[in-house]
């Protein structure tokens, strides 16, 4: 099986940048702030493959660059360097076959596409669930409307079909369909999170980004959201990129894991190996700090 996406040399800097930025930041320097010029190296040199149907975990402390990584891959921020390529089989039939590149199994660098093409790719292939439901949902319009908005982006036009699809997804994510015309602002945190998941899945994505989805939810709600994600990812054969600082979440969802520190990946491996035989100083600290 070939990877769904290949990410190579991905990086993001905020600031003017100087020749010493990379040498003076990173896990050894224990900072991502360049002392010479004040540039923040949010992440650098990220390299991984994500396979169809696989869940890849990204762990690390706050500020290690996990969410930056997701925002780059979801085209929310332009990358400073690096490439993301997608397997052409994922583009077939979507009218996106000309995503650059020189033939072969993979597309060109998606990060270099124009904004229009990026929006298309995002609407047709990707879904995202944020820690903060305010980022993923419009709180003032109905839950069903939130899902319909996403479907419109993916090219749906028939209102009745969109409503049926929204009801189907809300049902799958255990949100009472009778409340689909209420705005998410009326919902509890766990319910808002489930509406976000329904919205993220509405366009049948191949790739789902989960950015700290259970942080801030109480334990029983966390468990329900995680069980839901686990079941849906099997059902929809999703490739997941799971960002979390919670090793329990990573252990539950992911077969492979990358550990990030100060903007760099310090270690990657099978999740059980990372948890039981962490190699890097920082991974050991992270595992030892687990409650």
């Amino acid at each position: 099986m070939e990877p769904l996406i290949r990410v190579r040399g991905l990086g993001k800097q905020f600031g003017p940048g100087c020749p010493r930025c990379l040498a003076l930041t990173g896990p050894e320097a224990d900072t991502n702030l360049c002392p010479a010029c004040g540039t923040v190296v949010a992440c650098h040199g990220i390299h991984f493959d994500l396979y169809p149907g696989e869940a890849l975990g990204v762990v690390g402390e706050s500020g290690s660059g996990k969410s930056t990584l997701v925002r780059l891959l979801h085209f929310e921020w332009p990358a400073s360097c690096g490439t993301m390529e997608i397997h052409r089989s994922a583009l077939a039939g979507l009218g996106l076959d000309d995503a650059g590149g020189e033939g072969g199994a993979y597309s060109g660098n998606l990060l270099a596409c124009n904004d229009f093409r990026k929006r298309q790719l995002r609407h047709l292939l990707m879904g995202i669930v944020y820690q903060n439901p305010h980022l993923g949902l419009r709180m003032g319009i109905s839950a069903g409307g939130n899902i319909a908005e996403r479907l419109l982006g993916a090219g749906w036009r028939n209102i009745a079909r969109m409503r049926a699809r929204a009801a189907e997804l809300l049902d799958k994510t255990e949100v009472p369909v009778s409340r689909m015309d209420e705005p998410p602002a009326n919902f509890s945190g766990g319910m808002q999170q489930r509406v976000q998941i329904a919205k993220a899945l509405s366009n049948n994505p191949l790739l789902l980004f989960l950015d700290e989805v259970t942080t801030g939810l109480d334990l029983s709600v966390q468990a329900r959201v995680l069980d839901l994600i686990r079941n849906l990812s099997h059902e929809f054969k999703l490739a997941l990129l799971v960002v979390s600082h919670d090793l329990g979440v990573i252990n539950l969802l992911c077969q492979r894991t990358m550990v990030m520190k100060a903007g760099r990946v310090v270690e990657s491996g099978l999740t059980d190996q990372i948890l039981q035989d962490p190699q890097h100083r920082y991974s050991q600290l992270l595992v030892a700090s687990q409650l």
């Binding site: 493959d49 468990a223 069980d227 539950l252 099978l270 059980d272 039981q276 600290l285």
Partner: protein
């Protein structure tokens, strides 16, 4: 089928100033197709470490683990990429840990069915029938089938663990004290199930604390000092 050459594993503890603990070193053995190798040695000798190195739960540090896989041909499990290791775990290598570690909030029956569905591609009904039969042989009463194993006794959990590990008929089975928390009767049932699996051609490497037990199941014993 599998041969280990000069395997060594050292843990470097960074929080103790880079202190190095050697868990095992100079371990070599070979297991032929369809046979059972027992690992023996005192507590702390590194028996479990060897098994975990074979399964990649620990990263082997030195040495080679040559394995003739059905999927890829001959490979070195010490250096094989992560994805390929995952594939072997899915298709041919099983591992029975000392304690049950499963996803919470999944019923006992589902725990046993899951690898059958995923690895053997069985239909749900067939998997349910087989998993139920296996659990009953291991004397887990049907009224517990839809309960969560986390609520079971230690011995019951271990029997669910064994059912999960052998139900999908792995080609190579790694056993870390599978009978440690079981009474004699249950232990005998487990040994019977292992014997059946071997009769179908499975190869096994196992740790048993009980020397007598080890002598009855193993064709060969490797002493880890």
């Amino acid at each position: 089928m599998i041969s280990v050459h000069n395997l060594a594993k050292t843990f470097t503890l960074h929080n103790l100033g880079g202190k190095c603990l050697t868990a095992c070193q100079g371990v070599s053995f070979a297991v032929s197709h369809g046979s059972f190798l027992g690992l023996s040695g005192p507590s702390g000798a590194g028996k479990s470490t060897v098994l975990k190195c074979l399964y990649r739960t620990y990263l082997p540090e030195q040495g080679a683990i040559r394995y003739c896989s059905a999927t890829f041909g001959e490979v070195d499990l010490a250096t094989l990429p992560d994805r390929a290791i995952l594939e072997l775990r899915q298709r041919e290598i099983g591992y029975v840990s000392q304690f049950l570690k499963v996803i919470p909030r999944v019923s006992a029956l589902e725990v046993v069915m899951e690898p059958m569905l995923r690895q053997n591609g069985l239909a749900r009904e067939e998997a349910r029938r087989r998993a139920g039969g296996l659990l009953e042989r291991l004397r887990i009463p049907p009224r517990l089938f839809d309960a969560y194993p986390a609520t079971f006794s230690g011995g019951e959990q271990q029997r669910v663990n064994i059912a999960r590990a052998i139900g999908w008929k792995p080609r190579l089975l790694l056993l870390d004290e599978p009978t440690a928390s079981l009474d004699q009767h249950s232990a005998a049932t487990v040994l019977g199930l292992l014997a059946e699996l071997r009769a179908e051609g499975a190869t096994m490497i196992g740790i048993f604390h009980d020397q007598e037990l080890l002598a009855t199941v193993a064709d060969d014993v490797c002493r880890i000092a």
